[in-house]
Symmetry: C2
Subunit: 453 residues, 2 copies
């Protein structure tokens, strides 16, 4: 028979068990924090009608449509495609289930999405998005905007990924500023994209391109760049902004930003974890007020690990109801793969079990099973080694997979009603009563955890 | 602007938050039990190369291929498709990562799969499979086959879905029996499919078709049907089988079945939860020894809610290594939707939070936030109601979403350092010190749980 040699498809990540265990741990942290703040889980199908995905001008070159591999193609197949984000499906979901939902509707969604991008520079074609959004019915309190960063803070703190900064901004501020310079409408996104390039291409080039596009004077261009680069404490920036009094739009943005940052502190986000960043303008096309970006201090190259903001109307394509909202998305797959490569996250065991019950004596297999059953009943993840192999092979297997404990028992132990318990992290082995296995392991597991194993 | 009215696509299930919360609870139960037995998580991409999916003769009419929605189609896109199960991807994964895995390789996988079936009679096109398999390198102890049913038992017991029966069988027994009747090779699956129809079309029709296909005598056909319908206690059936001594294949199957059932009991599966069923032959084409089916006693119409068995060689299409294995798959989406419809599973709250902190006084919003932060720090899932609405609206919202508790505080409470704590399940309301909120709620939550709320 011909063997088909399996190969990975570029852009579709896949992990070894020891890596997936770490990824799952991150997902669990994200989920438990989303739930801690009262976000309800939903899941939408991976597949949506094409017209839904394209309603808002989705990039159709990046969307994977479906087709029957062979056989007659059904009409319906031509009309469906894989979702490329979780926001468009949310809009469809809220419009469709409007009567059945309670507002403000707080939902989280942790799912894979697909984009047919060229898989270059660490871009994935299949990846996890972890989203929360709060959707109001007609209106939504600005205080919601203050809650979002406290969730971001808790998640990355618990992930223990090192130093990060939440950049907070309000779109209305720059928009007001640009309006005061008579820059309007379609020119605004062009200018914002230029400002976003400040770090990359430098003040000189941004300035000359700004002047070319907008006709601004050298002086105004310089002032605009200085404004976008404001780098003071949050308190000082708020004070500077309050004193500027550019126009109504600007002042409204400043008031909103001040309210949001003030309440963020009350919700437990330490000052040193967020920074007002007027130049943080990514995604400003979509957002209408507060915006968030989060960067890893030691690895800014990862880009924003969590972005989002406030929008005026979630689902204008699918319903006439006005549904304002605020939310964020964590691009988990990229974050995880980068942190793993940078060794900020380390892999550990390739098994979720702490205990391996070895089998020394094939006539005693029922006793080994009973020991395992007791450990499982006590909440301990336990595997029994069933293969009739030498104990050295069994111990090698235990070490390779990273079990913390092995239980060993032969006829001499069974006579006494004891087992040998070997702690593979410390190397210690001792004989304990069969009745004390789970309590001893639980105690030693706590100690190992405290010692950072 | 034209509104696109969102509609569901047939065969792609989607749940309301209160339903998804129950589905997630089932997934959590499945996952924690898989981990309890030391199965390691893996996840394979939803998308595989076509040649991988078709290697084993996958039904290409049911496979969803991909295409770029518009724009130039890349060569590569033609070659990829959505996976239709988790077994083929597992085979590819094990072959590809053989050097990096420890054997026996125990893995679980809980993922969506896609099949382009006609969405009739409750068939889904997108659904969850929850799989475990143990893969040996060259060989795999038969005792592993005994462990699988104890996992099934624990899972459905914990799900609290009512009475279920694990039907256990060994393919070698019927195969040996058929060989003794000189029924070989390609006739075996035809006969097995007939036997599978016994309940549906009755003894008479099965018998006459049997005779037509195989040329068996009336007497032999009658005996075969009687044999496939054996209905005694497990112990009695094993005794009957042992006495029969049909041929070597048959006796090997009986010895294997006896070993497996004997050890199942040691692993904690009560006798009344499994039944040796010689006629349970579904999927016998693929399996080579032990097989499992699980049926809901009160809702047999759901079909098998968990099936699997032993196979000789997982990945013969992708590697020359011999990789025997045993595993099962739970078709979660169908199980969940049927149990929900049959009211065996009931939905509860549409929020994962237990506590709603209401906001009576907009000047005190920071205090409400601080109360919520304390509750969250104590591990309680908590939402703050930020909208400036009347308390009656806030309480209505709390009742709709199913919070167990609301915290209410106005100026008189703040002066005293107290809050009003209302238990929405019992209707009780009392004033307690601000310092005791989380401890009081935790205690009352325990009581509610014990009372079955």
């Amino acid at each position: 028979m011909d063997i088909i040699v399996p190969r990975s498809i570029s852009g579709f990540p896949e992990w070894l068990p020891e890596e997936r265990i770490v990824e799952l741990k991150l997902i669990d942290i994200i989920r438990s924090n989303f739930e801690r703040y009262g976000f309800s889980p939903i899941e939408t199908p991976a597949i949506e009608n094409k017209e839904i995905l394209l309603a808002k001008g989705g990039n159709d070159k990046e969307i994977y449509g479906l087709r029957r591999l062979t056989g007659d193609e059904e009409e319906e197949d031509r009309e469906i495609a894989l979702h490329f984000d979780l926001t468009v499906p949310l809009a469809r979901y809220v419009a469709q289930n409007y009567q059945k939902l309670s507002f403000p509707f707080r939902r989280y969604q942790i799912q894979k999405v697909w984009r047919g991008e060229r898989p270059q520079s660490g871009r994935f074609r299949e990846f996890y998005q972890c989203d929360i959004d709060v959707i109001g019915d007609g209106e939504l309190s600005l205080l919601t905007d203050a809650e979002i960063p406290s969730i971001i803070y808790r998640i990355f703190k618990e992930m223990n990924i090192g130093s990060f900064i939440i950049r907070i901004n309000n779109r209305k501020i720059l928009q007001g500023y640009l309006q005061s310079l008579e820059i309007f409408d379609e020119k605004i996104p062009v200018v914002l994209r230029l400002i976003d390039k400040l770090e990359k291409i430098g003040v000189q080039r941004v300035s000359s391109e700004l002047i070319e596009i907008t006709g601004l004077s050298d002086f105004s261009a310089k002032q605009l760049i200085e404004f976008a680069s404001l780098d003071y404490s949050n308190e000082q920036i708020i004070k500077i902004l309050r004193d500027m009094k550019v126009n109504e739009m600007f002042d409204l943005g400043v008031r909103e930003l001040a309210t949001v940052t003030e309440h963020m502190v009350a919700l437990g986000v330490p000052e040193e974890y967020f920074r007002i960043s007027i130049g943080a303008v990514r995604g400003l096309d979509y957002y209408t007020g507060t915006t968030y970006e989060t960067v890893h201090v030691d690895h800014p190259g990862i880009g924003s690990i969590c972005s989002g903001g406030r929008f005026d109307n979630l689902a204008s394509y699918f319903t006439e109801k006005k549904l304002p909202g605020v939310g964020i998305s964590i691009g988990l797959t990229r974050l995880f793969s980068r942190l793993l490569r940078a060794n900020i996250l380390q892999t550990g065991p390739s098994t979720p079990a702490s205990v391996l019950v070895t089998s020394l004596d094939s006539n005693r297999i029922i006793s080994y099973m009973q020991i395992a059953t007791k450990l499982r009943d006590a909440g301990l993840n336990t595997e029994v080694y069933f293969e009739p192999k030498k104990i050295s092979v069994q111990l090698k297997y235990a070490n390779q997979k990273g079990f913390a404990f092995v239980v060993i028992a032969g006829s001499s132990e069974f006579e006494k009603g004891t087992v040998q318990l070997k702690n593979l992290k410390t190397g210690e082995q001792r004989e304990i009563s069969e009745n004390n296995i789970s309590s001893t392991i639980n105690k030693e597991l706590d100690e190992l955890k405290r010692a950072g194993f």
